[in-house]
Amino acid sequence: MKKFLNNPDAYVAESLAGLAAAHPTLTVVTDAAEGGATFVRRTARTRPGKVALVSGGGSGHEPLHGGFVGVGMLDAACPGEVFTSPVPGQMLAAVRAVDSGAGVVFVVKNYTGDVLNFQMAAELAVEEAGIAVETVLVDDDVAVQDSTWTAGRRGTGATVLVEKIAGALAERGAEMAAVADMGRRVNARSRSFAVALTACTTPANGKPGFLLPEDEMEVGVGIHGEPGRRRAKLASAREVAKLALDAILAEPVFAGAQAGAQAGAQAGTGADGGDVIVMVNGLGATPLSELYILFHEVSRLLAGRGVTIARSLVGNYVTSLDMAGASFTLCQVDDEMLELWDAPVNTPALRWGL
């Protein structure tokens, strides 16, 4: 293992200390009253009447989630150990700290651990703090099929879109139910798929989670270093982009986008109804130049199918430590969602419109 480390056991704590030192708009709280529960919050208090957004999950996905705390996105984030969900006490402490009286919306990625710990936290928030909580579950990863036989689709890249768009709506003063509904709408219209070239190494384990020969790739990986659905021969960027988009666009949610585009083309009215936000996301160790090579392929493929890229995001947003690889996320947007996407945001990882 080669990492910039002092002590593997202090990996998360020291990284959070750096986050706070680098970004004065954020504060890392260690709540003694909640048994040392740790969370990241905006330094500024929540505006009275504003619904608070709280997310969290295992560490190792930075900038997710701490890097998305700030105006226009999250009010607080609860980081667990590396790839381990946070514990309920962290969420309870965060809820108490950021609730302004308007309630709290949890954004939870669909992993058994995250779901169970946030569920217990939501119950505690009501029972012990009298604070109402609504939960938005993110499950966008099409690599996990057939939810009858699995824990269901994983939450991955769409989390960024949910936090941005629902966060913008909360900033406008919408009520808790509306903010949660918007989050669910974004999730329902988003799908993702990821391919890895290497495994990642957790500081606790010290060696890669799996070994991948030079000429092979893992198809359908998640963001926790677990192996993917299958292993395949390494393919070109063009083929990898096609593989991912084929999997995503085969989802019923995008049938309308493509059909609408075709109908628009036939009627001579131009492509319509197929507007998407596209995110090509690095998993941690893939250079931005390679992500742009992939985005180029994505843009050509979508143009060929009559799907219009309304907005795009290329970079490292939901990572898996030092895994080399990329994930692709498409979200079929409407005008309201696009307007909220464009709304001002000021976080360490996303910043525009200010």
Binding site: G35, G58, E81, T84, S85, V87, T112, G113, V144, A204
Partner: protein, 229 residues
């Protein structure tokens, strides 16, 4: 003195009092410590390689919470403390699942000592809590595959007249067999389920840690009660 005591009532000593319960929990913590790497490697194969570290963190906190000066009034209070400590320190799915299991068991044991019948009810409550929270069924390749046979076996042993110690040994054997039997299964719950058929051929880490807990119980009762002539 000892011989006289046990001679008066052989069944009477076959109970789980607060000190034996504490010894069981500390023995579990020691077993988790010595199996940390094993659990991590099992989890690396089909999960995310954190089960060893998480359980170790949890049971280290548990050992600190219930060891030494901690003086509960009932067995249930001690188990409840174990549960709350696991919920607030483990994370992952294991924290809420094991935490809820210990808490549910504890709610059934509001006495300073428990006999086999009481403990059977407590184990049943633990299993129900895990199944309610995790929604896993037998054969899904989860901790339920070790917990369910252990609970059923304990129940049957007690019903057929076995004492706590013998029932615990039978349950430990069943839990271990159940954990081993997860190897050929395809995971249908938890993170391993994302692997589909590739989860086949690996023993489930959660079932393995469950087997450790039952082995620690049987060993503790053997050690404590086994010394009685």
């Amino acid at each position: 003195m000892n011989a006289g005591d046990s001679g008066e009532g052989g069944n009477r000593v076959d109970t789980l009092d607060i000190e034996t319960t504490r010894a069981w929990i500390l023995a579990t913590a020691a077993a988790v410590d010595s199996h940390r790497d094993v659990l991590t490697e099992l989890d690396a194969a089909i999960g995310d390689a954190d089960h060893g570290a998480n359980m170790h963190r949890g049971f280290t906190a548990v050992a600190a919470a219930v060891g030494g000066d901690y003086a509960p009034e009932t067995v249930g209070q001690l188990l409840g403390k174990v549960g709350m400590t696991l919920i607030s320190s483990v994370g992952g799915a294991s924290g809420p699942l094991y935490g809820s299991a210990f808490r549910a068991a504890g709610r059934q044991l509001a006495t300073p000592e428990a006999d086999g019948d009481q403990f059977a009810l407590a184990l049943r409550a633990a299993l129900d809590a895990v199944r309610a929270l995790g929604a896993a069924a037998a054969g899904d390749k989860t901790m339920v595959d070790a917990l369910m046979p252990a609970v059923t076996t304990f129940d049957e042993a007690v019903t057929s007249g076995a004492g706590l110690r013998a029932a615990a040994r039978a349950a430990a054997t069943a839990a271990d067999a159940g954990a081993r039997a997860t190897t050929p299964l395809q995971a249908r719950k938890g993170r391993a389920s994302y692997l589909g058929e590739r989860s086949i051929g690996h023993q489930d880490p959660g079932a393995t840690s469950t087997a450790l807990i039952f082995a620690a119980l049987a060993d503790t009762l053997d050690g404590t009660l086994g010394r009685m002539p």
